[in-house]
């Protein structure tokens, strides 16, 4: 199905919230297997909105959108969970479940997929250790710092080894050193095969990593000149 290798394929897509004018217009954008993109633009430009269409939180109000080679514009509701399970999302506002422990939060994608805990317990532990939260596995999100919550969210996005990783401002709450390590992590994951899109304001890091950049302004998505170009 993805014979053309397209993970994400927008064709003239638009997104409008309610009766408001379109937040995003004429989005024509493709992401292939193994590609990496940064997504930049001023606050309120529509970065999160674009990602929301990608992780199937909003359907485009206009145009066409395919995900993993399947038409997602008119996909029936029943088809969505299977698509979503192939995506790992780090939400801008984390969206952890406050009544669950860090461990249970990270395990959530496995649990809703109906996988037995015995099969993912070690993975989850390893991942939490790996983001430096091995000692806080039993803590609930409200007792964690912003940066710690962000790392739990990161672990949750990665636990199912997704084909597509979407990260919305994943370094917003961590110190510069941790930011750099997280960004390098995405680059590493990308080398291992996952397609990655990272929305960020951190232009310094974007520049250091030298990956292609998509820029949103005035509701339109364009390739930023200079930085990276085609991958």
């Amino acid at each position: 199905m993805t014979a053309n290798g397209l993970i994400i394929d927008f064709e003239n897509a638009g997104l409008a919230y309610g009766d408001a004018p379109e937040t995003l217009s004429d989005v024509t954008l493709q992401l292939r297997e193994g590609e990496f993109r940064f997504l930049t633009g001023p606050s309120g430009a529509g970065k999160t909105s674009l990602l929301k269409m990608m992780y199937l939180a909003h359907r485009p109000t206009r145009g066409r959108f395919s995900l993993f080679g399947e038409d997602a514009t008119n996909a029936p509701r029943e088809a969505l969970p299977a698509l979503r399970r192939r995506i790992g999302v780090v939400f801008q506002e984390f969206r952890l479940l406050d009544h669950l422990t860090a461990f249970e939060n990270v395990a959530l994608p496995m649990k809703v997929a109906g996988i037995n805990q015995n099969q993912y317990r070690e993975d989850v532990s390893e991942l939490l250790n790996w983001v430096g939260l091995g000692h806080r596995m039993g803590a609930k999100p409200p007792t964690l710092s912003g940066g710690e919550q962000q790392r739990v969210a990161l672990a949750r996005a990665l636990v199912s080894k997704p084909d597509l990783i979407l990260a919305d401002e994943p370094t917003g709450n961590v110190d510069p050193a941790m930011s750099e390590r997280i960004m390098k992590l995405f680059v590493e994951l990308n080398k291992l095969g996952a397609a990655v899109i990272v929305a960020t304001h951190n232009l310094r890091l974007v520049q250091t990593l030298g990956k292609p950049v998509l820029r949103i302004s005035d509701g339109r998505v364009s390739r930023a000149p200079g930085a990276g170009g085609a991958s």
Partner: protein
């Protein structure tokens, strides 16, 4: 669906974000696995009020079902007792004529197949029956009060009384046979309508359980809107979420229903005791009791209640979710 051939990233091969020691998540004990944290903490729009409402509903449902059973059991016992009894009444101008008619009727009865027992009520007994209407002491003044013969008959004879009726009329012109048919029919009708009423109450109470469960499931989903959308976004199906809510409602419903059953059983036991020591002593009324296997029906009521609650919640969730993206 063909999945693209992508080598999935193995996160742990890359440089760790941590520099500390490695920790392990403990294996859950059996107890912890049974008592796992619900994914939707408020799925019942607050557990205690819902449990209380279900308890009341289950209490009423058990009482309604108990009424159905008591009426059913008592009515069938009562009517079968009535059915085996017929009464022969002998009227006459004076006591001598009545006595002669009575002994003629008794001879006929004794010579009839299917008569188990025929007892002539003695005058004092008959007088005692009439006392409430005529006043104590006055009874003897009415010397021509009819004689009554209580007859126990087999079901076979009970089905066809015409021959006996004719033979009695021939032997004793003043004799009439009363098979209590009118009384029997009235009793059966009353029992049937009483039962229908009790069953209607039971159904209404179940409808209330459905309504409260729809209401609570909707409120629960609204209160958990954020959590539900996170569950969706990490790949949960509607069925998964509905099953979570259903499980939660089943547990709450079970607690409430069990409490309601316990309260109803206590209430029934108290009512039965009061009945036995009070008016229950009257031999005319049958014993009100729900015994033996029938009590199992009462235990089925709370199970039905919490199944109804849980299934309604599931369907409500599925319907509500389908209206969203």
């Amino acid at each position: 669906m063909n999945r693209p051939q992508i080598s999935r990233p193995e996160v742990t091969e890359t440089e760790s974000l941590s520099d500390g020691e490695v920790h392990e998540w403990p294996k859950p004990t059996l107890f912890a696995r049974l008592r796992r944290e619900p994914l939707l903490p408020e799925a019942g729009a607050g557990g205690a009020p819902l449990t209380a409402v279900i308890a009341v509903i289950s209490f009423l449902a058990v009482l309604a079902m108990a009424s159905v059973l008591v009426i059913n059991q008592s009515a069938s016992k009562w009517t079968s007792e009535l059915r085996s009894e017929i009464t022969v009444q002998i009227k006459g101008a004076d006591a001598a004529e009545i006595a002669a008619g009575a002994s003629a009727a008794l001879r006929v009865l004794e010579g009839t197949d299917g008569v188990i027992e025929a007892t002539l009520q003695d005058e004092a007994e008959t007088a005692a029956l009439l006392e409430p209407w005529l006043g104590r002491g006055n009874v003897q003044a009415f010397l021509n009060i009819p004689a009554l013969i209580e007859v126990k008959v087999t079901p076979g004879l009970r089905r066809d009384l015409d021959l006996l009726r004719n033979r009695l009329a021939a032997a004793s012109p003043g004799a009439t046979l009363d098979d209590h048919a009118v009384w029997h029919n009235r009793l059966a009708t009353a029992a049937r309508s009483g039962q229908a009423l009790a069953f209607a109450v039971f159904l209404l109470v179940m409808a209330a359980a459905c309504a409260i469960s729809i209401f609570a499931a909707r409120a629960g989903l609204a209160a958990n809107h954020d959590i539900v959308s996170v569950l969706h976004l990490v790949g949960a199906t509607d069925d998964f979420i509905a099953a979570e809510v259903q499980r939660r409602f089943f547990v709450l419903g079970f607690r409430g229903a069990a409490a309601g059953l316990a309260a109803a059983l206590i209430a029934l036991a108290l009512a039965a005791a009061a009945f036995r020591t009070g008016i229950g002593a009257d031999a005319f009324l049958p014993q009100f009791s729900v015994g033996g296997w029938l009590i199992l029906w009462l235990f089925a009521v709370p199970i039905v209640t919490c199944l109804v609650t849980a299934l309604t919640a599931r369907l409500t969730v599925l319907k509500t979710l389908r209206q969203q993206y």
